[in-house]
Symmetry: C2
Subunit: 425 residues, 2 copies
């Protein structure tokens, strides 16, 4: 189907047929949900031995009784797990509670309100501190900025990561830019892995940006590969060391999509200066994180091999769901001008760009046909997709046949929205 080459008559024919197809789907009264990047129950069950794994031994290898108070930065074996996950020395890792989002919020709040390297470094000291958001991106990152009143400016995503020409130009043009969000591997939502060149250019941003500029490197999908020979993400930690920009990038990760999504362990990896600033803030918020749960996770995933073989079990469950999405898109739109997408080799999302102006209508049509998609616009700051194109598909939770069913609906809705728009033009 090629809209741009279709005659009005052809468009009317398509519209008639698609409307019939759509009505037939509505009649099925489906109830499918591909909105959120959550593990399925089967994935969660892979880690059920966590509860009880301690067998009465609550003592960490350092001799610390994990049941009691204290230890703001985590127990050594949990730092090692963070090191296995993030590829950063354990000494540079802080282990938190159950949510990396909380660590990101706390870090950005500390940077904004109190300063990570002394009060003079607080972002609020300038009138309108700004943060760069590659788009499409992750809505919860945007919410953090919005709550703190930090202005977001966008840069486009490419197949290699953020458009670094655009990012560098923004930084050079505006001295009040203080931060940037990144999801460097299987980026939310486009699924791309940042290229080595992109990672190196990000590491070098510290050379051109304000000294209080920080990249928030949300490596949420660090080991979440679908294939055996995944594209490797370059080490931003090593590249910062190479360029003398150690304070520029603060990394985050968690076991949320490794073990139990709501009951995992979160990590920050950063320079010692950044960790000192973060710990100064955390010291007023808490006596310490849940070290018992840290110990459970360290015992469950005692080394990198255990971690990677555990992740293979996730891949076995996720692969057919991603296949269902990607084969449906290829079959329906491979030879069309109705949309474009990346083919993620990991992560939790497939991102689809419709023809301009068709995303919101596609999501509406799908909802009325019983298929819930993430609201159009959610992948942009302030919920505003300027071209109304991007739709995020999250196939992890439904059964494979449900993903197949949801994609049948999705395809009809994209086509119908596109054809009707062309007719109305």
């Amino acid at each position: 189907m090629r809209i741009d080459q279709a005659t009005p008559e052809q468009l009317r024919e398509w519209e008639a047929q698609l409307s019939k197809d759509y009505d037939a789907i509505v009649g099925k009264k489906l109830s499918l949900d591909v909105t959120r990047g959550k593990p399925s129950a089967d994935q969660l069950s892979l880690s059920d031995e966590l509860d009880g794994i301690l067998a009465g031994n609550y003592i960490a290898e350092s001799g610390v009784d994990t049941r009691n108070y204290g230890g703001i930065d985590g127990i050594p074996e949990a730092k090692r797990l963070g090191s296995d996950l993030m590829g950063v020395p354990a000494d540079n890792i802080l282990v938190g509670g159950n949510a990396s989002l909380t660590l990101m919020h706390q870090t950005m709040l500390a940077a904004y309100q109190f300063g990570l390297t002394g009060t003079s470094s607080a972002w609020k000291n300038v009138d309108s501190p700004k943060v760069i958001c590659p788009v499409p991106g992750y809505d919860r990152h945007f919410t953090v900025c919005e709550q703190l009143g930090i202005e977001m400016i966008t840069a486009p995503m490419t197949a290699d990561g953020p458009d670094m020409d655009a990012v560098e130009a923004l930084i050079k043009a505006d001295p009040n830019i203080r931060g940037m969000w990144c999801v460097p591997k299987y980026s939310n939502p486009t699924g791309v892995v940042y290229s080595d060149a992109t990672v190196e250019r990000i590491a070098k941003l510290g050379l051109i940006a304000h000294e209080d500029f920080r990249v928030f490197w949300d490596n949420a999908y660090a080991v979440h590969d679908l294939n055996d020979n995944p594209q490797q993400l370059a080490s931003v930690f090593d590249l910062c060391a190479k360029h003398g920009t150690d304070n520029t990038v603060i990394q985050f990760a968690s076991t949320s999509k490794i073990t139990h999504a709501g009951a995992g362990v979160a990590f920050t990896a950063a320079s010692s200066a950044n960790l000192t600033g973060l710990k100064a803030f955390l010291g007023a918020c808490t006596i310490g994180p849940d070290k018992v749960n840290q110990l459970r996770h360290a015992r469950f995933l005692p080394n990198r091999d255990a971690l990677m073989s555990h992740m293979k079990k996730h891949a076995e469950l996720l692969q057919p769901r991603f296949d269902a999405v990607l084969s449906a898109l290829q079959e329906a739109f491979g030879d069309s001008d109705l949309g474009s997408w990346e083919e993620p080799a990991g992560g939790y999302f497939v991102s689809f760009d419709t023809r301009p102006g068709c995303a919101r209508e596609t999501v509406r049509l799908a909802a009325e046909a019983g298929v819930k998609l993430t609201p159009a616009g959610a992948t942009f700051p302030y919920g505003k997709d300027p071209e109304d194109r991007n739709i995020r598909i999250a196939p992890s939770v439904p059964a494979v046949e449900e993903v197949v069913g949801a994609m049948e609906v999705f395809v009809v809705c994209v086509k119908l929205a596109s054809v009707r728009q062309a007719l109305a033009a």
Copy 2:
């Protein structure tokens, strides 16, 4: 020993004898620590069945899979546990992560920065918002205010709780007072339980204070009685309802000193307006708390009877330690002018007031003799005890014979500091 009635010669005799006693103690090279209100290992072991208690069943009674994301305010059975603990309807309870300090910090931050009932209610809207701190009090409360830049003003503690004449006078005199810290039962550090009249006057503060005024009611020791027939704390929730001041008091509690201190579950109890404001803030910080750990706790302590019989086991371990402290104080100082103290019937602390100007020196002498006490001044905002009198003793962690040993040192140090001060005067 009565310093005020002693002759200089008598003082010199005492000083000589006490110096000898002290040197003998120093020679023992003790290493004892009565600084922090932490449960002992034996207390922690009372809850060791928590790990494994789920036996593979991670589903909450609502059908929610606790392993997955979501549920910002906690699972129903955990709210019920909060209700059993705090005596507040489950509907008014939010269940958080492992630390009530974190909930208090988040609530005060939200009140200060964003406003609990809309942005116009943010404390930062006035030039110098202030919080009343009854003294002596809990150092971590003071740290929260200090970090946020909120000025603290003090009101004295009495045997019935805060001096409410002083509190009401402060509120009437300063329209910028926005908050007040309270530890209403077995107050940290004096151990008193607020009287019914005090609780009612606190509930009525909403009638005279600014509408954004909030009492932070840290009921950390709600069920932490040493005796079978403890003094009952009046329900501030019911009294607020009676006086139409539902938004005035926000309550906090946790299982930190019930199950595992670093790995428990924390609660906030508040009006629906306050909860709405808090949840709006939390929604940017987290996708939700650790519901698996909430479920563990709800299964471990399924009702009020289970909770109270569990707390009796704690009392059996704590009682002899408190007895050791109180009998040592009574024997040494019962008939003296060297200091005063309350006799707590629960909680984690005994608070001792030396003669003015002797606390810091007592703590220093004890430290040199191998007994670590909480730094003098820590129980006052900014670490400044204006009369240098208050010392907090936390006897829960050491073995009973170690508490006895620490108190022998303490008594000699108090006497020596007092006598030397009198001689120098």
